[in-house]
Point group: C2
Chain length 600, copies 2
């Protein structure tokens, strides 16, 4: 027999919560929470992405939002059982609000709510046509003048953006724009994605040739159409490019290739954007209500300014422009930087027979790919997790249920274990002069990613080349200047160079707002990404969520969408529901709108 005791406890608590919330009795509801409680809400209560930390914040949110949200029918999710381990009771839960159905996750400590995740699944009356509700395809019966699927698709493609305006325009047709557009199509939100490249997937294809995804396949599924069981663990860049291209086609996205955004302006009164785009050489003006920048959280290159760059006679470019190693066999290459791209490019250049030096200017977090997979992602995203019944959706929600405020506490033990497991590896790297770190608080890679989106390398082989001297290393120095044929470092070292690669990272996404809209709008919105953790490159104050991502900003009608494939998949659900609600005129009062503390 299954121990039904946790089910009973959770059911009882949910019944009490239901009664209290239905009665508008905020204090009674608060009695069910721990003092150190966290309630993370993805759109269901706040029309925002928001974590309430502690009872006061929960109280304030409920006082502002309870009357309108009208949550009911709290219960253990259909087909699920609550579980108990280490004094924590966990449960999948479901609930409804006045306008939506919700799903969530609950952790109880000492019988009270420690963490609560509430997410919006679907808007009532606007459910996605799936499963029992999938389209018929064939139109049975006979009807003169009916159109075929192909004719309807062609008509839509011919009209949208020309004689009919899209409700939503997504700038950037990488994984983020594609995943969001797929969800918006299922929600019948007329959407155009514009992409500067010729084919969907080109933003991967055009990168350096040895590139493979650094995240494993279980973490990378797109919505609706998971990778098959024979898909490689780490997708080669051209293969993921092909997948994105076919996905765009079979999901029937309105995807404008070879199209760039020239200028976007917002009419506050009309609540409408005017966006001038150039589509394959032709200028077209679009008038969407909503504008999504899915231009890549790592797409605006930071190009450094070093003295003498203009004198240098060899090739020099930002890592994002690096064509791959083929032209550099037997040449001298200097790579400035020591994060993911720097390592991948150094290794590929070495493999192609170049003489490579990496210039490490500050410490870097290194974690071996297999250790990260096994210890870091394994419990949620791995073949083992799949076999034990973990779905992608549940893994995403469990991950989402851990409050950012305490996420580092869950991460530190993982990286301590990795440090122990790979102690020899780290020792050899340090012996080669490499400057290592594990983040300001030793919380490792994922926190670095969330806080600053940089500062690490997931080792797939380059570290061995650094350790054994195949890739030469200069660390703890910076570039002083360039000459015609060399890079001069601050310690006086002269590195002869035919090629200099600046693997110097990327700027905040609101740089795109500055470029495409205006400096004023970029400043009004402020910096994107980061948590306000007051660690290096992530200044406070504490935000509780990632700045400006997938949620309303200070600029009405402007949204930022991006991140890795996991985030593109998971957060596109919540962004698409926010956009759909606005299109349908469902009131969406935003609780706790993003404040601006940094300009980017």
């Amino acid at each position: 027999m299954l121990d039904k005791a946790p089910n009973g406890r959770v059911s009882e608590l949910l019944a009490t919560l239901d009664q209290a919330l239905s009665a508008g009795d905020v204090e009674r509801a608060l009695d069910l929470f721990q003092t150190d409680c966290y309630w993370r809400d993805l759109v269901a209560f706040t029309w925002n992405i928001k974590t309430m930390e502690g009872k006061d914040q929960v109280r304030a949110m409920l006082e502002a939002r309870l009357a309108e949200t009208r949550p009911t029918n709290w219960k253990i999710a259909d087909g699920e059982d609550s579980t108990e381990a280490d004094g924590i009771t966990e449960s999948w839960i479901q609930f409804e609000t006045a306008v939506a159905r919700g799903f969530g996750h609950l952790r109880l400590k000492d019988g009270r709510i420690w963490t609560l995740l509430t997410t919006m699944v679907e808007l009532k009356g606007f459910e996605e046509p799936q499963g029992f509700d999938r389209p018929m395809g064939a139109k049975h019966g006979a009807d003169r003048n009916r159109k075929t699927w192909k004719e309807e698709r062609e008509q839509e493609a011919a009209e949208l953006g020309i004689t009919k305006q899209p409700y939503c325009l997504i700038i950037g047709g990488g994984q983020g724009g594609i995943a969001l557009a797929a969800r918006l199509r299922q929600l019948s939100v007329p959407t155009i994605v514009i992409e500067k490249n010729e084919r969907p997937g080109d933003s991967w294809r055009k990168r350096y040739k040895s590139l493979c995804l650094h995240d494993p396949v279980w973490y990378d599924h797109l919505p609706y159409l998971p990778f098959p069981a024979n898909w490689p663990v780490f997708s080669p860049k051209d293969k993921i490019g092909d997948w994105l291209e076919m996905y765009t086609k079979v999901m029937e996205l309105n995807y404008w290739r070879k199209t760039t955004c020239k200028k976007a302006t917002y009419d506050e009164t009309a609540g409408e954007w005017t966006v001038v785009v150039e589509r394959d050489g032709q200028e077209i003006v679009l008038k969407p209500k909503q504008l999504v920048l899915a231009t890549g959280m790592s797409a605006k290159p930071n190009m450094p300014k070093f003295e003498g760059m203009e004198l240098f006679k060899g090739d020099q470019h930002h890592s994002s422009q690096h064509p791959g190693p083929d032209a550099y066999k037997g040449k001298k290459a200097v790579v400035i930087g020591s994060n993911n791209s720097a390592h991948d490019i150094c290794a590929a250049l070495w493999e192609a027979g170049a003489d490579v030096t990496m210039v490490q200017r500050s410490s870097t977090h290194i974690v071996k790919s297999d250790s990260l997979m096994e210890i870091g992602l394994g419990p949620l995203y791995s073949e083992q997790a799949v076999r034990s019944g973990m779905t992608t959706e549940k893994a995403d929600l469990i991950f989402a249920s851990l409050p950012y405020k305490i996420l580092h506490e869950f991460q530190i033990p993982i990286y301590n274990a990795i440090r122990e497991r790979d102690a020899d590896f780290y020792k050899r790297l340090e012996a080669a002069g490499f400057m290592l770190d594990f983040g300001d608080d030793d919380s490792g890679l994922f926190m670095k990613y969330l806080r600053r989106g940089s500062g690490y390398y997931i080792d797939v082989g380059a570290s061995e080349l650094v350790a054994n001297g195949s890739i030469k290393l200069k660390s703890g120095v910076d570039v002083q200047r360039l000459t015609e044929h060399a890079v001069i470092l601050t310690d006086g070292t002269q590195l002869p160079a035919d090629l200099v690669v600046y693997a110097t990272g990327y700027g905040s996404m609101n740089g795109w707002a500055a470029e495409l809209i205006s400096k004023e709008v970029a400043d009004k919105v402020g910096k994107c990404w980061g948590l306000g953790s007051n660690t290096r490159k992530d200044p406070g104050p504490w935000e509780g969520e990632q700045r400006n991502m997938w949620k309303p900003t200070q600029q009405p009608g402007l949204w930022f969408h991006g991140g890795n494939l996991h985030q593109s998949r998971h957060y596109s659900q919540f962004l698409s529901l926010q956009l759909k609600a606005r299109m349908e005129g469902i009131p969406t009062p935003v609780y706790g709108l993003q404040q601006v503390h940094h300009l980017g």
Copy 2:
């Protein structure tokens, strides 16, 4: 508590079977079978697709094959429970042979085996790289001269068929060829698919424009990559075309577009084919060991010869060549035939505003699409089935577990129920003069499909047009002759015509063998498809399986693969394993090789 009694009974029987077979004691094993038993084997024991009917046939097979097959480890399949209903105990089972792992299905009646299905799942040592064994994609470590995924794919594409010979050549790149090639790739069998059209999926795209699949989505999944939950129930032809095209790409098939086979000859001594193909205008000679005709079980048009056809001044063509209705608005069209294509074409012509007459020469089986879906396919292939835990793989195996000899007995009640449900509909059709049948033994559509591949229409709307006279009907007549501007029927009716469509069906697949190889080989192989049921267009003697499909033929190295998407998916598993075993030199003595009773 689950009732474990059926598990106990099945386990006991399997243990006895295991002992008897391990001891080579055929009679003791036979004691476990009913007198009216059926053992259907897909490759595991017979290296053939073969149903043993009754104890004598089981005995003969075991005497021939037991010693070499060496089956062991018979047990209830991992994670499954036996069930009992209506006096029948059912169970999923697993077993091993000397060279393979098997999965199967068992039905006990009065404690003895009534039906047994044994299927080969994988060859030991040649398992597909899936799940835990999926490829890494990224090659961790560093290695000078290593190639990227893209470079390897490009090299393979450049070499295969030019400097390296494929082990297998598949002629025909429709759903059959594509599904088989996908499995062969996973098994590392070097394979080329040649296709006359420009793009994968064109064999669907090029058909009449209103065409949608007549089978619902749950029945149509391809291997490895199921359709997503938002896929339409009945795929429009262009949408399934796009899916096949993307599938070909992401499954990395070596697919030669715009390529036709000119001539194939077999060298018995070398065990090798010489196949002359024309690839985009260039002649190339291929030397595969195995040749698969996946040219479509309905791809060789039956063009009738009527007196006066050469005089006719209007358009006339076989249904497979019909361009769609757009040019025939206001014109007079005569469609000869009354099966699927005839109905679809008549309806589309009517919708486009043509004056349409259908000439029904013999009775036709009609079943409404929704009735077929709900009553015919629902328990195995439907959203309801999915929700109740039925997987595509299990549905295929349950279907495969019903012996052809008695399959009609399971089908007759289904069609009786449909007749009752749709009695009004059938009455109205007959009132319009339409000649109905439900098959010689009232077993309905699927038996007609298996026996003759023709003789029916799945109604998606055209029957209403026939019933209400929108599509004019002449039934119980044949064509006597054509004149310059009319079709003259045997009852003297003169049908003025601007267009005549011959929806007169297709010939047997061995017509392709005659055309591409020789009349001698076609005759040596004999007719394809059909069961030998001694019903109309399916002459006896009884075969027990479909003639020549997916299994060895009298011509070494020649295989026929085809059928609907279900069959393409399911039988490609067994054909691919037969081919792989031959490539690896695993002995594959064929038990009960196809005999030839009809030339085609």
